[in-house]
Amino acid sequence: MQSMSQTHSDYRLSQLDQLEAESIHIFREVAAEFEKPVLMFSGGKDSIVMMRLAEKAFYPARIPFPVLQVDTGYDFPEVLQTRDNWVDRLGVKLIVASVEQAIADGIVVDDGKTSRNRLQIGTLLNAIEENGFTAAFGGGRRDEEKARAKERVYSHRDEFGQWDPKNQRPELWNLYNGRLHEGEHMRIFPISNWTELDIWDYIGREGIEIPSIYFSHQRRVFQRDGMLLTESEHNPLRDGEVAEERTVRFRTVGDLTLTGCVESTASTIQEIIEEVAVARVTERGATRGDDRFSEAAMEDRKKEGYF
């Protein structure tokens, strides 16, 4: 269902149509100006919206770049299934960079203390370097977190993959500057200006497939650090923790050992939208163990080269 009608007596675009137009513009700029772009596709809702926008930007041609997934080894099977469905439907090439493989190859070191989420950074940077990617689309949104709120649409990374938040390039109008030196790359955030609610409105409007775990379902979960985590072989219960069945859904999807769910009966997009509209806690604050360590957790990971 498209809200775009055939004639516009007043020539106005709704804010969602304006966001869509802006994102499509960004995709086309990158495809035109960069030698080797790649889209970082996790199978989560934000990267699905990115895929949809990329599909629209180049239709009826195929998306002119591959997609890259960093597989933590701890991904939700439902998410991997959705990822595969999208990749098949659009006929794009999927590259999987596996954290386990990176550990085996000695590219990153699993000391038992570092989370898989953090090990993703080295794995990702290695995949970018190995494949010679010059631009990597990410599904980061500025409303997610206050370090992200500072980031440009074209976010420059030096030859170590690092972000320098105190020294970002000016970014004016919709004139993006994609100049790079050898070994550097650009992270591109085409949905920077979308909010969580915009994402849901768009998924609802477009009627596109997302992983089933975003909808209410029964799941065996346990409490840890104030979060509801899923019972799993990768996440053994600690002393005093008990798993029980609850009616839940996920607001974000990531490493399943760190991504919490919320109790919810929302089983349609409309019900999710109603729930998000009255939510009192941010999606990351509620459900992402990786962001809860300090006020600067995200900034520090981003500097190193996180998504």
Partner: protein, 419 residues
């Protein structure tokens, strides 16, 4: 689904360091119930740990570690909130002169500029500089928020004096729409709720103004401009002969059947079809991203512009523009830079610096031989490729360009074409 028919207002804060921009945005978000509990708890905890008397709302937007350490904003923070009919994209910009480039970044796309002044201090050089930048950027709506009214006993006299001082300065600028609102960002007076301390003020609260300011009429719907971004050639059996020109409409309304010219080549044709994803549409207007098909097999590539035959920009290599210079090495005559204008890139040679604008007095200094960092001046350029440009006053998209240092790759100048 509310978001599908809301409209959009982009606004940017401006003003000197410590005038209360970030605090105001924090207040606006808080009082419009757009702050989540975990976000508020985090800044309450930080404020308490630092021994502040009150919660520092600026911490809601000052998202970088160094910003929190220094208590200033360094780079733009983008924040979002919505009321039932409108979504707002806020660019909270830094006041410090050293980070003017980031203020320009935040303001370049704004529909409304929100200039703060500290009621105790009145206009400073930096508030003037920012007002000048907003006016050069042709941000169509301006709000002057006289802040920290709580520190001047909510005095009408102070408000009147700053109001007069600013309107006098603004007569020399291009300010089509101005509203002057007395507020306290810290206490919340006239931000979302009406102040109980300023009965002498009968104008709108800031929020009321933001919700009602009329922005739809700010686009050019007359002069059709379509810079081609990307040529879509599927190379599949099903769409064997498909050849579409993808881009974002920069001005005017385009329809199938329109007689058009492709610039700079000057070849003419007719629009045969306009696609929006898998649908054909009957008209395209800014800022839609669409794909245009032409009846004839003319040569069209990225960087070309499609316009109407009787209403097209004249290709030119001689550019007269106002430039905001954003790097420490000064802009000098004979300098060579890369230039990006719409989807076109080339090189530019600085022919002449006509004058430097004194942001305090608006005096034009014609003696100057260079433009230093954060300075604004009128410059003549010669480009290697013809630009398909309009005056910036007519079209913010086809009238703007950026200058890039070819050695560092950094964006060093923002240009607005005169005419």
């Amino acid at each position: 689904m509310a978001g599908t028919n809301m409209d959009l207002l982009r606004f940017a804060t401006a003003g000197s360091v410590d005038d209360g921009k970030s605090t105001l945005i924090g207040r606006l978000l808080l009082d419009s119930k757009s702050i989540f509990e975990d976000q508020l708890e985090a800044v309450e905890a930080t404020s308490e740990a630092k021994g502040y008397d009150y919660t520092d709302l600026a911490l809601l937007t000052d998202g970088l570690r160094s910003e929190r350490e220094q208590g200033i904003t360094i780079d733009v923070a983008y924040r979002y909130f919505a009321t039932p009919n409108r979504k707002f994209i806020i660019a909270d910009t830094p006041g410090h002169v050293q980070y003017t480039r980031n203020m320009v970044t935040g303001a370049s796309t704004a529909d409304l500029g929100l200039v703060l002044v500290d009621a105790r201090q009145g206009l400073t050089e930096q508030s003037r500089r920012h007002a000048v930048i907003l006016s050069l950027l042709r941000v169509p709506h301006l709000v002057l928020a006289v802040n920290k009214m709580d520190l001047v006993d909510y005095s009408q006299e102070v408000y009147d004096r700053i109001y007069a001082e600013f309107t006098q300065f603004a007569t020399k600028l291009n300010v089509p729409d101005l509203e002057v609102i007395p507020i306290s960002a810290l206490k919340g007076d006239n931000v979302v709720t009406r102040s109980e301390h300023m009965s002498w003020y009968s104008g709108p609260t800031l929020m009321h103004h933001l919700e009602h300011v009329h922005v739809a009429s700010d686009r050019d719907l007359i002069d059709a401009r379509f810079p081609v971004q990307y040529v879509i050639r599927p190379k599949s059996d099903e769409f064997h002969d498909y050849r579409g020109y993808a881009g974002q409409v920069a001005g005017g309304v385009l329809k199938p059947g329109d007689e058009v010219v492709v610039l700079p080549s000057g070849m003419t044709s007719k629009i045969s079809r306009i696609d929006l994803f898998d649908k054909e549409i009957s008209e395209a207007f800014p800022p839609m991203s669409v794909t245009i098909h032409l009846e004839d097999d003319v040569d069209v590539s990225r960087g070309d512009t499609i316009a109407r035959i009787k209403n097209a920009p004249t290709p030119t290599q001689d550019i007269d523009a106002m430039i905001c210079w954003m790097t420490t090495t000064p802009l000098q005559p004979r300098q060579k830079l890369a230039i990006k204008h719409t989807t076109r890139t080339g090189r530019a040679l600085v022919k002449d610096i006509q004058y430097r604008l004194d942001v305090n007095t608006l005096h034009r200094d014609q003696e100057t031989r260079e433009l230093g960092v954060n300075e604004i001046g009128r410059v003549t350029l010669r480009t290697t490729v013809p630009l398909l440009a309009d005056p910036y006053s007519k079209n913010r998209t086809t009238g703007s360009f950026i200058l890039i240092d070819e050695a560092t790759g950094v964006t060093v100048g923002a240009g607005m074409i005169n005419g």
